[in-house]
């Protein structure tokens, strides 16, 4: 396979993977209003746990990591997703109950930095800054895949995983549960006044979104074959935020557009381009500049994103409104206070009122 197609399938992989990551952040932020600035931390936890669940025991490999269960794909991927959800559960217990959106965002940014520092420095658990390497490539041995043939194969696998996860996410966001998430996003006080236990629903949203983060991270570590803490810098969260803001907050189709525009075309495509002579660092920093400008432009001119949140129209029509004239009548009329039913209209009461005046 030529280098060109290698790059193309690499881009395809990142497109599908960031579609999954964007769906996870979208249900937390776009649907439920949780400003999860530690999202990349959950991606990293999913990546690490997928890796160590799929790798053999550390033994004499020279690496330090836990588990080493040698589990096959996709069981290790599911463990990665569930691990991110478990972390989300404890963080949500601590933060969501007490903190409003802005304070929650600050705590989560701090948490993201703490997670990064721990993974970068704690050798017994995460192998420190060396990270993990030699992470098994799924099905590579069974299907006798080479490095070249593994890339398109795993891009296709990621595509299938993304489609399955899109199906599940669509079922959730279209359901009454998704509607309650959006009610909480719009006004948690009103949602609570309507009998919705806001914390419970936010927790559910955090668990679902973090599972998606963990799976997305697990796919990345298996695609690249290594886990390096520097790949999970807290700033990476904002790339995923850019994906959902550009694509369209609250719309799963928008996540496809965002993943294509931001992650595939703006981040990974320039990274694969050859360096510009005389400006060796320009391409590497290109993505941060473009994303910053793109976010400003989008928020100024099209805050709803490329594919805005759709209006869920009712398909049910009342029979009596089949003709347009009837509806106009009801629009302008309604029950009114009539003399015989209003307590204040009783003769004796009226007389007392007149006396008082």
């Amino acid at each position: 396979m030529s280098a060109f197609w290698f790059y193309v399938f690499t881009l395809v992989f990142f497109f599908f993977d960031y579609f999954i990551l964007a769906m996870g952040l979208n249900i937390q932020y776009g649907e439920t209003g949780i400003l999860n600035f530690a999202y990349i931390g959950f991606v990293a936890v999913g990546a690490y746990m997928t890796g160590v669940a799929g790798m053999p025991s550390a033994g004499l490999s020279g690496q330090h990591y836990i588990l080493g269960l040698n589990l096959p794909f996709p069981i290790n991927l599911i463990i990665g997703g569930l691990s991110a959800s478990v972390l989300a559960f404890f963080i949500a217990l601590i933060t969501l109950r007490r903190l409003r959106t802005d304070y929650l965002a600050m705590v989560l940014i701090s948490l993201s930095l703490v997670l990064y520092d721990i993974s970068n420095n704690y050798i017994p658990l995460f192998n420190g800054a060396d990270g993990l390497y030699n992470v098994p490539e799924p099905f590579a041995n069974a299907l006798k895949l080479t490095t070249n043939s593994f890339v398109p194969f795993f891009a296709a696998v990621t595509g299938v995983v993304a489609l399955i996860m899109w199906y599940f996410m669509s079922r959730i966001t279209r359901s009454p549960l998704g509607r309650t998430f959006r009610a909480i996003r719009d006004d948690p006080t009103v949602a609570s006044a309507l009998g919705k236990g806001v914390f419970r629903y936010q927790l559910t949203s955090m668990l679902i979104g973090s599972f998606y983060a963990g799976v997305g991270g697990g796919l990345i570590i298996q695609f690249g074959g290594s886990f390096n803490p520097t790949a999970w810098l807290p700033g990476e969260t904002f790339v995923i935020f850019a994906v959902i803001i550009v694509g369209g907050v609250g719309n799963n189709i928008g996540m496809i557009v965002g993943a294509l525009l931001v992650e595939t075309l703006l981040i990974h495509l320039p990274a694969l381009l050859p360096a510009i002579p005389g400006h060796p660092g320009l391409i590497e920093n290109f993505d941060a500049m473009v994303i910053g400008i793109l976010l400003m432009v989008m928020l100024w001119f099209r805050p709803q994103g490329m594919v805005p949140e759709r209006i869920r129209r009712s398909r049910f029509t009342l029979p009596e409104f089949a003709t347009s004239g009837a509806s106009a009548a009801v629009m302008t009329s309604g029950p009114a206070i009539t003399a015989d039913e209003a307590p204040g209209a009783e003769p004796s009461l009226q007389a007392e009122q007149e006396d008082a005046q």
Binding site: D187, V190, A193, L194, G334
Partner: protein, 274 residues
């Protein structure tokens, strides 16, 4: 017994009280908003909560609905002590509320605003979403039919697919009330439902409130429009300086010098000036 206590008459709660509070106090940074408010709200009646600005009416509504915690005192919903319960638990007990400034769920359509309201929905469970789709569809269809009928009653049918944030002020008031009705509450707290709406709409909202009573609901409404109070309310609770000043029919209260001095006189003089 202090002179103030003598003026607090017991409301006519022959049918029983469904909502009551006793000695509710609440202060903000040392300023007392509520200073021992005590009253009973009779069942299946329309009760008005009136009083001068700053009397603590909205604070009381917030405390009764669980949006705010009191410093001391107790509240009962039926026979259950719901003091300082979280608002969603109180809502699930059957108490709904509206807000002084309408708070619509702006990103949702008008119909969706109502569909959120039923307190317990099978479709809010992940298990049911994936393993009981028929139950979900049936429940959703029933809720949509009922919500659409309520919207038709409240004159919002044609706007059912509009985002709620696009509605006018009066329409938002109607949406908030209809959303509460969708939840089929036993007690409905209305915080100034007539504020900022035109006279024709005031008539309509008054009619809707009477409808609620006919359907068996108990209504407690904060209201400054005494004409409306006179026409539709069975009982009136007067709140002044965070305390219950008096309770009874408005006609009786007009003869109460303390009430006239604290509130009614102010209203009458204001209306004369205007």
């Amino acid at each position: 017994m202090t002179p103030s206590d003598q003026t607090v008459a017991s409301p006519d709660v022959a049918g029983g009280s469904i909502l009551s509070c006793e000695n509710i106090t609440k202060s903000f940074l040392g300023v007392n908003a509520l200073n021992g408010a005590t009253f009973d709200v009779p069942k299946n009646k329309i009760t008005a909560l009136i009083g001068p600005n700053g009397a603590g009416k909205t604070t009381l509504v917030n405390i009764l609905s669980g949006a705010m915690k009191s410093d001391s005192g107790t509240t009962h919903l039926g026979s259950v002590d719901v003091t300082n319960w979280e608002s969603y638990k109180i809502a699930r007990m059957g108490l709904m509320r509206t807000f002084q400034l309408s708070r619509e769920l702006g990103g949702l359509t008008v119909l969706e605003n109502l569909l959120v309201a039923p307190k317990v929905q099978a479709g809010e469970s992940l298990f049911n979403i994936f393993f009981r789709p028929r139950l979900l569809r049936r429940e959703e269809q029933q809720n949509i039919e009922r919500a659409t009928e309520i919207l038709a009653t409240y004159g919002l049918y044609e706007l059912r697919d509009n985002r709620a944030r696009e509605l006018s002020g009066g329409q938002k008031k109607l949406l908030e009330i209809s959303r509460g009705v969708m939840a089929a509450p036993t007690v409905f707290l209305l915080d100034e439902p007539m504020a900022g709406v035109n006279p024709a709409l005031i008539e309509r909202i008054g009619g809707y409130i009477l409808d609620m009573k006919r359907q068996g609901m108990t209504v407690l409404m904060v209201e400054h429009n005494l004409n409306v109070v006179e026409k539709i309310c069975d009982f009136v609770i007067v709140l002044a300086e965070g305390k219950t000043l008096a309770t009874g029919r408005l006609s009786e209260l007009r003869a109460n010098p303390e009430v006239v001095q604290a509130y009614l006189g102010e209203v009458i003089s204001a209306s004369t000036t205007n």
